[in-house]
């Protein structure tokens, strides 16, 4: 990869890290369980993109498999919280 592509990718990675940090602020100050679950969902989906970017920078395809399982677990986690607050679990 050329220099300009690597520069753009690093800028994108830092912007994603900034987005995750801002979401983590909502995770801390969120007034209720719902807000914390939403910010958890956004953090996991954002880190899916960051993890795929790291897989490209490190040139390891095995990280994409980790990525798929991570997304599956985050989906199940949000569904379980929804079941829990509707008192049917």
């Amino acid at each position: 990869m050329s220099e300009i592509v690597l520069t753009l990718l690093f800028i994108a990675g830092f912007i994603m890290l900034l987005a995750l940090a801002l979401t983590f602020i909502r995770f801390i100050i969120g007034p209720s369980l719902i807000d914390r679950t939403i910010s958890f969902d956004v953090i996991t989906v954002g880190s899916l993109g960051l993890m795929a970017l790291i897989a490209l920078l490190e040139n390891r395809q095995i990280y994409l498999d980790v990525n798929i399982i991570y997304g599956l677990l985050s989906f199940v986690a949000v569904i379980v919280v929804g079941k829990y607050i509707s008192k049917t679990l």
Partner: protein, 110 residues
């Protein structure tokens, strides 16, 4: 070849900016319902843009990146819908500026 990689990197940068918009909206919105709306839509669009950009940079990884993108686009709206419907049935407080609530009207008529 070079132009394809540069356009892919620009798409990744756009996706990162959309994720940043999701984070800012999550901080600024006054209500859980508005927060889940901005968070789900913007984060799904951001991850889809990032995956398309990475697939343009390395076309050999297109299959797995496309699977991840499709998976996020299928599951993220479903999980947010389940979560907020459960919260709405549980009487989660709304913003005082809310003027229309179709789910409440529908559940009254049922």
């Amino acid at each position: 070849m070079e132009y394809l990689q540069i356009s892919g990197a620009v798409l990744v940068l756009l996706g990162a900016l959309v994720l940043l918009i999701a984070a800012i909206g999550l901080l600024r919105m006054p209500d859980s319902y508005l927060r889940v709306q901005v968070g789900t839509k913007a984060s799904t669009a951001g991850v889809a843009l990032v995956m398309i950009g990475l697939a343009l940079i390395i076309p050999a990884w297109f299959g797995k990146l496309f699977i991840i993108m499709l998976f996020v686009m299928m599951t993220n709206p479903v999980s947010s819908n389940v979560l907020m419907r459960a919260a709405h049935r549980n009487g989660h407080p709304k913003s005082p500026k809310t003027i229309v609530d179709h789910l409440e009207e529908d559940e009254k008529t049922l």
